[in-house]
């Protein structure tokens, strides 16, 4: 991809960054949900005596 003016370059990189930011939000949500899913399972488990 060629850029003739700085504005073209900034438009391209900024667009990519906005797409990445969207992916990061979903990624963080997924990571947190994965890490904490067992916590909920432990809390739900009935106590054995």
């Amino acid at each position: 991809m060629e850029y003739y003016i700085y504005h073209d370059f900034m438009m391209h990189t900024k667009s990519i960054i906005y797409i990445l930011m969207g992916l990061f939000v979903v990624g963080f949500w997924g990571l947190w949900a994965y890490m904490t899913s067992r916590d909920e399972e432990i809390h739900k488990m009935p106590e054995h005596h």
Binding site: F9, H12, T13, I16, I17, L20, M21, F24, G27, F28, L31, W32, Y34, M35, T36, S37, R38
Partner: protein, 387 residues
């Protein structure tokens, strides 16, 4: 009694330590009497070598456990990590003190250490900002650590007075750490033509600061793992009971922090549109660093935290510590001056590596001395429930 003491001192570890310290002292004498050229491979193209790349950049990053642990405990109120605060503060204090110590080898003339701050302050230089922050933060860490020393010495009044400053010191420490962790990265913003585009970024300051958080958290886990066996007899019940919880909690924090660091790395890549470099040899090395030592540990920490797999977390902490060292090496040495011919590239001399090993050994020796005497892994009986 003295024979017993002499016998106990002659352990293989102590003998190796003694040899390293002796060799280090000899190189130190050579450095300060014959000059930099005698002991280093530094030249006009490569004025900063392993003493900056390892002793300073890695030393500061890995000492970040001090501000991360104390802010978790005192600012965010996570008191369940309290037992990890003193070991983390001690590691940070020793780390920073040794950074200042090691800097003398590069700068020379130790008696002129005060010049940049008090005699001829170069207030427009980034190095002035780094120097000022390190000077202030070492002072803050010394004060933060001092209650342990005063408890050991039985100086109750002074200990209680300083203990009241804990929150203020923690806030001050976080501010100073944020400033100088990032300014160390900002130093390399001044060399856009020397540093490979994959490592050079206008976001270097942010990258250095964000990476210091998982570095500090991982170092607390790593150091705790190493200290657990030899100093088990010094640890009280609270410390031993909280140990697993500290590891699991810090693993979760490190996983998120590494994921954030990975995101900033990608943003830095996208902002300069450097994607095409990924298809080169340098790109392969960059991917090894970013995927193998940032994304992978983040994932492994998440798995370890979810499965409560302490062993996996401990190995991941070692991987992360190695990854941070690799990143600082890449920025300061490997990808630095990448466009020079191979024969003009820098590789540290044996004596430079010797000094770095000497500095680390000195740190471990002082750590052992302090931990086996002062209340670091246990609460002093006279101050129980005083926190």
């Amino acid at each position: 009694m003295s024979t017993e003491n002499n016998k106990s001192l002659m352990t293989p570890a102590n003998i190796i330590t003694g040899i390293i310290l002796l060799v280090g002292l000899i190189i130190t004498v050579l450095r300060f009497t014959k000059g930099l050229g005698t002991v280093t491979n530094l030249d006009q193209n490569n004025p900063w070598g392993i003493w900056i790349g390892f002793d300073l950049l890695c030393g500061v990053a890995l000492a970040a456990g001090g501000y991360t642990t104390s802010s978790a405990c005192y600012i965010f109120g996570l008191k369940r990590y309290h037992s990890a605060v003193r070991p983390a503060i001690l590691t940070a204090f020793l780390g920073y003190a040794l950074v200042v110590f090691a800097l003398h080898y590069d700068v020379g003339r130790p008696y002129r250490l005060v010049y940049p701050l008090f005699v001829q302050p170069g207030t427009t230089s980034l190095l002035f900002e780094v120097g000022l922050c390190v000077f202030l933060y070492v002072t803050v860490l010394a004060i933060e650590f001092s209650p342990a020393m005063f408890e050991w010495l039985g100086m109750k009044t002074l200990r209680n007075k300083i203990h009241k400053l804990t929150l203020a010191l923690t806030v001050f420490g976080v501010v100073l750490s944020t400033l100088h962790q990032s300014s160390l990265g900002a130093l390399y913003i001044a060399v856009p033509s020397k540093l490979h585009p994959l490592w050079y970024s206008p976001y270097l300051a942010i990258l250095f600061f964000v990476s210091s958080i998982p570095a500090g958290l991982s170092m607390v886990i790593f150091e705790g793992t190493l200290a657990h066996k030899p100093f088990h007899h010094m640890m009280d019940k609270t410390h031993l009971d909280e140990h697993e919880g500290v590891i699991l909690g810090f693993a979760r924090g490190a996983s998120i922090a590494l994921a954030a660091y990975f995101c900033v790395k990608l943003v830095a890549l996208a902002a300069d549109n450097n994607w095409h470099y990924l298809a080169t040899g340098w790109g392969a090395w960059y991917l090894v660093e970013v995927l193998g030592f940032v994304a992978l540990p983040s994932l492994l920490y998440a798995i370890g935290s979810r499965e409560k797999n302490i062993k996996l977390i401990k190995w991941t902490a070692a991987l992360t510590v190695f990854g941070i060292i690799l990143n600082r090496f890449n920025v300061s040495m490997v990808a630095f001056n990448y466009n020079l011919p191979a024969d003009q590239r820098y590789f540290p001399s044996l004596m430079e590596i010797g000094i770095s090993i000497f500095v680390v050994t000195l740190g471990v020796t002082i750590y052992r001395f302090i931990v086996s005497r002062m209340p670091i892994f246990f609460e002093h009986p006279e101050y129980k429930d005083a926190h």
